[in-house]
Amino acid sequence: MINLFQFIPEIFILSLILITLCFGLFNKDRAISLNTLGFILLSILLLNYGKDFYSSTQISLNTINLFVLSKIILSIGSIVFILLLKRPLKNENLYRYEYVLFLLFAILGSFVLISSNNFLTAFIGLELQSLSLYLMAAFNTKNLSSNEAGIKYFSLGALSSGFLLFGISMIYYDTGSFNIQNLDNFTAISEIGLSLVLISLFFKVSAAPFHIWTPDVYEGSPTISTLFFATLPKFASLIFLFRVYQELNISDIKSLNYIFQMVCAISLLVGVYGAITQKVIKRLLAFSSINHIGFMLLGIMSYQFMSEGTLFFYLIIYLITTFGIFAVLLNLRTVDGEFTKISQLKGLRFTSNSKSISMLVFFFSLAGIPPFAGFFAKFFILSASINDGFILLSIIAVLSSVIAAFYYLTIIKNMFFNKSEIELLDDNNKTGKVIFISSGLIITLFFIYPDPLINLVDNLFK
């Protein structure tokens, strides 16, 4: 007998999808704002009753906390995202309610992915998520590069799904079970199968050397979709990767552990190496996200020391920063279209106070310079990894963040030191402004008053 109680969040989203489908035919504005309300409701529901949903199951308390916290983060992220998407879509004549539907499907897929205990369910969740992402990448059908991004994403993504499925079938052949939790007695075949699964997940979170799609897709897609790729689905895939690592005790399997460490080191280095020469800001952010994935993988590997707290903290700070940066970028346009190049940021200091200062905060935070929250995120990850004995990886990580500081400084240089060459149009999007200012404040004020964020993460893992 299946207990439907634990599926309440998923069922909630599913009903949101149906409502949006029906409602959107008549009034797209209202259908979209309805979703904001829906997600607010969902986050309140999860915040208050999240743990009760799973109380009848045999899942350990820690894992339940993991489910609840990541679902809360996903739904809050969705609220911010839905609030943000109206203006940018309108600017490109893409304002249709289907976009929100894809978003909902992707979130549903992420929810399923996060809480799946079974490789097949995970596959379904991942596919649901990915298929919506392909569509979001290609949503600007009249734009050639958007189409290209969608097709590139789809073909490479399909390949990686093939890897995933092949890996799962090898594991099934070996152990006769799809279950993630009770896998033991590995043989070589399972190890190969698991490494295929890992490769597919690395692809989804765009860890190097499986990152090739990232810069192109980031650049080609509409900026609002790029924001989505960079944040929520990646977050969900990373959580699932974390669960696979934890449940299967990958740290005990020598070969897989080796793969993990290599991918972590390569991501750290490829991210900074690729980003240095970039001139297009979305490509730069793509590479910088690869570098940050390296840090997150380091966090996954060293979970033994301070449990999930450090990883989650890093993820939250990273999400806030990314949302802030994109909220600024979405607010800017050049006279002849969307704003793309870093050099177009020149002189932003003179045109807009709030934008330039928020960007300063975000990029110094990404570079890990105190007193911004990004420093503490890196500090905790490094504390955990040094305590768990990953000294070499930690050294690579800090050195990579020095190189990373170079290109973040280049952006700040363009905004603060150079005179403007091109006139930047201000969209004057009020919601966007609220979002980037508040995320800037969170990043800055964390230093003075860290308790709320730390407690949020801490309490859920007690």
């Binding site: 020095v402 400084l409 240089k413 603060f416 030191f417």
Partner: protein, 484 residues
């Protein structure tokens, strides 16, 4: 004492900066902005004057302690306090920042509001470094100093400012991240970030050597010591006058302060082990950079190289690990903070009038600017180390303490003194004496504001030179604790 004076010292400039940034910039004139900045920093200076009055010199350990839990889980706390080593440096900072603002009233025309805000933030971060006795909060402030400095050099610097400011930032950051790893390792061992607890902890000898090198990487870049000094001339030459003043006056001292406050008490064995290396590097710094300074055509660059040489004395003094040596090094730090700041101001005065820093463009300045030449001479002689000025005491003590370690060391440091005298006298001669160049004739002598701050600085140099006990009383006890 329950009055939170240290937090107030950190917060006053930040609050001032916030108020300024919230005021609308279009209505305020540059002068009003600078004046309000001056009021804030002068208030801060007066506030910091309370510290030496209420500081109890007879007691050991830290005073004015404030403690708030910050990150419970890691036992990292907001834990601040001062002892004799930090108070003079705090005073130096609060003293120099108003002067920086004063000297830029005329030279900084565009984006004055931002300028004042960055300086206020810089001040509070620097004070944060000097008061923190938790290693993590020390690191946070130590790194945060980079941000306003990066912007000050980058926005108001000379023509090659981007190169200089990037070099400054990345050099310092690369040094600091290694220290970050060492700090994390130490916290994982000691389970606390408290400096006193870490001092009591003994590490494995091999590990201690590595940890020492990590800290050394950060502080040596900041001081700067010989192979890591190349960012300094660039940063100084490109920075605006006020930026150079604060850079030479206070930021370089952060490194030396780090050596005294962290490296010596944490790593006694490693400090002794690496003593020869540091002596060698410092001797090279003293002799080599002095010779380099002799050949400079740019005034600022010459003084920048002289800073490296003078800081060489400081590192030698610190690592003699004797009371006299560290006392002398500390005195040299304070003295260099005043004198080199004054010398950069001196360069700034003529640069503002004549818009060139080349030594060859000046000649016979004393004919048109007699007051200027007078002050220039005072600071020049102090930099050379004339008895009766503050420069003498520090250099003398350092040289004296080296005799107990090695005579060769004494020889090289003494050579440094002679070389220092030769380049400073050369600089003074070339600028002030000789034929009066025709395009110099219309240079105006010092204004009242300039006379005011130069006399303050000159008074301090003389005072410390004649009555050095003033400083030694303050630091003796704290330093004797840090070497045992």
């Amino acid at each position: 004492m329950s009055f939170p004076i240290l937090s107030l010292l950190i917060l006053t400039p930040i609050i001032g900066a916030l108020t300024l940034s919230l005021s609308s910039s279009t209505q305020l004139k540059n002068k009003t902005i600078f004046l309000s900045g001056l009021w804030i920093t002068t208030g801060e200076f007066l506030l910091s004057l309370l510290l030496p009055f209420f500081y109890d010199k007879s007691k050991n350990g830290y005073q004015f302690i404030e403690f708030h839990t910050w990150f419970d889980k890691f036992d990292i706390n907001y834990y601040v306090g001062v002892d004799g080593v930090s108070i003079p440096l705090i005073l130096l900072t609060t003293f120099l920042v108003p002067i920086c603002l004063l000297c830029s009233i005329n030279s900084i025309q565009n984006r004055a509001k931002e300028f004042v805000i960055y300086f206020l933030l810089l001040e509070s971060f620097i004070i944060g470094v000097f008061v923190s006795i938790d290693i993590v909060i020390f690191y946070v402030f130590f790194e945060a100093v980079l941000i306003p400095m990066f912007l000050i050099i980058g926005i108001w610097g000379g023509e090659n400012r981007l190169y200089a400011t990037f070099k400054f930032f990345l050099y310092t950051l690369a040094g600091s991240v290694l220290m970050l790893l060492a700090i994390i390792y130490i916290i994982s061992k000691v389970k606390s970030g408290n400096i006193e607890l870490i001092s009591d902890f003994t590490f494995d000898q091999q590990i201690e050597l590595v940890l020492f090198l990590c800290f050394f990487a950060s502080f040596a870049v900041k001081v700067p010591m010989f192979p890591f000094h190349t960012w300094l001339p660039d940063a100084h030459v490109q920075a605006p006058t006020s930026g150079s003043v604060i850079l030479a006056g206070v930021l370089l001292k952060l490194g030396a302060y780090g050596f005294i406050r962290l490296s010596l008490p944490f790593f006694e064995y490693a400090s002794l082990y690496f003593q020869p290396m540091i002596f060698a590097l410092s001797c090279v710094a003293i002799v080599y950079t002095s010779i380099v300074a002799l050949r400079q055509l740019d005034m600022k660059k010459m003084i920048a190289y002289s800073s490296v040489a003078h800081m060489g004395f400081v590192t030698i003094g610190i690592f003699t690990l004797t009371q006299d040596g560290i006392n002398g090094a500390y005195f040299q730090m304070i003295s260099h903070g005043i004198v080199s700041a004054a010398l950069f101001l001196i360069v700034g005065v003529v640069y503002e009038r004549h818009h060139t820093r080349m030594i060859s463009d000046y000649s016979g300045v004393t004919n048109v600017m007699p007051k200027y030449s007078f002050f220039f001479m005072v600071f020049m002689l102090s930099s050379v180390g004339l008895p009766g000025t503050s420069g003498f005491v520090g250099e003398f003590l350092v040289i004296m303490s080296t005799i107990s370690v090695s005579v060769y060391l004494t020889f090289f440091t003494a050579i440094g003194v002679i070389l220092g005298a030769s380049y400073m006298l050369l600089l003074y001669k070339n600028i002030n004496f000789g034929d009066l160049k025709s395009d110099i004739k219309q240079l105006a002598d010092l204004t009242n504001i300039e006379i005011f701050y130069f006399s303050c600085l000159a008074f301090l140099t003389m005072l410390l030179g004649i009555y050095p006990k003033l400083l030694f009383e303050m630091i003796n006890k704290s330093i004797s604790l840090s070497i045992i």
